[in-house]
């Protein structure tokens, strides 16, 4: 059976079901509301696995599922050298969110990364420690700032309510996802003009480490049904 991992709840799950339904595949939860079970109608050889979106990158990397739907940001954050581990089959056009760097809106002198870097140097001299950036996207943020040549910062882990860290004096800036920017504005933060790290959306990925001996043919049929180019795995 070709195992397809999909988000187990919320809008991401519903939109995933809609996306497949538009292409003639009916995915549905089965059993009671609380039971994580699901089934496919209209396609032989495909098994649905309901998972937390955050765990789907790991399951893909391990090859325990063949296909998975999750945010492109999560794959890039959680998997080192991600193109070697998964193939992007299709961007799905929902779940849009931008991973961005934001600083206090009151910082009139900071517009872009060059300013952030200069402020980080002065901040370290004045405060005796490096400028703190709160995030849960450590790999993406660090890679982005290294390529931009920003120094004298440190990442501090923030798994939630990241927009509040600056006001609470636990960070000076944040790297977080935003869709409308409203939460940022409400917390008196602004996005750096060149501070877009990644534009994320829900994406259908294929696992390179999965066993494709039997399921390769199923994938070819599925790609044909969905109107997708079969990936080189």
């Amino acid at each position: 059976m070709l195992k397809l991992g999909v988000p187990s709840k919320g809008r991401l799950m519903e939109k995933t079901f809609d996306w497949f339904a538009e292409r003639g595949l009916r995915l549905a939860r089965t059993g009671t509301d609380r039971e994580y079970a699901a089934a496919v109608e209209g396609f032989e050889g495909l098994e649905l696995v309901l998972l937390s979106a955050g765990e789907i990158p790991r399951e893909l990397a391990a090859g325990r599922i063949h296909l998975g739907v999750t945010g492109s940001d999560l794959v890039r954050e959680k998997l080192a050298d991600w193109p070697a581990q998964v193939a992007e089959l299709a961007p799905m056009g929902f779940g849009h969110a931008d991973l961005i760097i934001a600083v206090p809106a009151a910082w009139a002198d900071v517009d872009g990364l060059e300013d952030l870097d200069a402020v980080a140097a002065a901040f370290r001299r004045a405060q005796g420690h490096r400028l703190r950036i709160a995030t849960k996207y450590h790999r993406l943020t660090r890679d982005f700032l290294r390529q931009a040549g920003v120094a004298d910062y440190q990442l501090v882990d923030s798994q939630g309510a990241t927009e509040g860290t600056v006001k609470n004096l636990t960070a000076e800036a944040i790297a977080d996802i935003t869709s409308s920017g409203e939460t940022l504005r409400a917390n008196h933060l602004k996005i750096l003009s060149d501070g877009l790290i990644h534009q994320s959306q829900a994406t259908l990925f294929a696992a390179r480490a999965a066993d494709w001996t039997e399921e390769g043919a199923t994938l070819a049929r599925l790609c044909a049904a969905l109107g997708l180019e079969p990936p080189a795995l």
């Binding site: 809106a105 004045a126 405060q127 290294r146």
Partner: protein, 358 residues
């Protein structure tokens, strides 16, 4: 013989050769407190070193290099002058699979702390490595971060501009972006113009950075906007300096020919170093000089730098090293001592046939 066992034997021979030069063998912990390494290298080190947690001592790293703990040990009570030798594993996280870049490998190192004759100490370390590695037919390249620093220091421009360029000598991308800005090649952004015209956002102040810190930076930016750009011919000379590659014997004349007057003391040091190398039996005509050597990869070096490499592409250098006077200042708590040293990778020596002159 398995490569790892052979590497260990080669390392032991190198360590014996270093001891024969009068070096004291020094042991350092594999588990190092993360703080000193993070302060020195910044956040990037987390991507390159293994970070772990100790329930009592906090964040620790598996030793990514020996230089920092050796300098710490020396600054905590070493006699002067001092020569140290060591052999042990270092650990480097790899974000991409690469058979040439193991996550764990041996380094055999030799470090000299000497106040009196730095160029002689440079030559001593280089010549020792050259002698030990001679049977391998490697390509040696030298450079001098001190020359680059002298070029920045000698610019006739605002002190904050020079400080910003100096801070980014090791990050070529940001360095050249700043140079473009300061030389007027990159136009002023609309946001910067509005800021200098007095635009201030309607937003409450939040966070630890103070309004006074912001006003101080705005004053610096206003000064910067009024200051004349770094002239294009000077930028061209800097670009020519960063691109300079030639036989080491020609380097002093080529550097003098760039017409950057502030380089004179650094060129004198380079000439003294080359003379010291000759007295150690090294022929500078057969040595490569690259002005930007080590610029993107060897961040705590601030003077002489060198590598010995095999002609096999993609392979890490067999040996590398350099001068790190500023590092001793950072780690010395107010004290400093000129220091130079380097490491040989016995595992790479083994991969290339294991021929050492010791």
């Amino acid at each position: 013989m398995p490569v790892r066992a052979e590497a260990r034997q080669l390392g032991a021979r190198l360590l014996a050769a270093f001891r024969a030069e009068g070096a004291a063998v020094i042991e350092t912990d594999i588990l190092q407190p993360a703080e000193a390494l993070l302060d020195l290298y910044g956040e990037d080190i987390r991507a390159r070193a293994y970070v772990t947690a100790d329930p009592l001592r906090g964040e620790m790293m598996l030793r990514p290099d020996f230089t920092v703990p050796v300098v710490q040990a020396h600054m905590a009570g070493g006699a002067e002058p001092a020569r140290y030798a060591y052999l042990g594993e270092v650990f480097r996280r790899q974000e991409q699979p690469d058979p040439e870049r193991p996550a764990e490998y041996l380094q055999a190192g030799y470090e000299v702390f000497d106040r009196d004759t730095p160029e002689e100490a440079d030559a001593e370390v280089f010549a020792l490595f050259a002698r030990l590695l001679a049977p391998m037919g490697l390509t040696a390249t030298i450079g001098d971060i001190g020359v680059l620093r002298a070029a920045v220091d000698g610019l006739d421009t605002l002190a904050p501009r020079k400080a910003a360029l100096m801070r980014h000598i090791w990050r070529p991308h940001r360095f050249h972006a700043l140079l473009e800005r300061y030389s007027g090649l990159a136009p002023m952004t609309d946001a910067r113009r509005a800021l200098l015209d007095g635009a201030r956002p309607e937003a409450p102040w939040i966070g630890l950075r103070s309004p006074a810190e912001m006003e101080a930076r705005i004053a610096t930016l206003a000064q910067d906007a009024k200051a004349p750009p770094i002239p294009a011919p000077i930028v061209e000379r800097l670009d020519a300096l960063f691109a300079l590659r030639c036989p080491a014997a020609e380097a002093p004349a080529r550097l003098t020919g760039l017409g950057l007057a502030s380089l004179a003391p650094a060129i004198d040091r380079l000439e003294r170093r080359l003379a010291a190398l000759v007295s150690h039996g090294i022929d500078p005509a057969r040595l490569n000089f690259e002005a930007s050597h080590g610029r993107a990869t060897m961040e705590y070096y601030d003077g002489f730098v060198f590598t010995f490499a095999a002609p096999r592409p993609g392979m890490p250098p067999v040996a590398s090293g350099g001068r790190y006077d500023a590092l001793t200042r950072v780690l010395g708590g107010g004290r400093e001592i000129p220091a130079v040293g380097g490491v040989i990778r016995p595992g790479v020596v083994a991969d290339l046939g294991g021929k050492l002159a010791c």
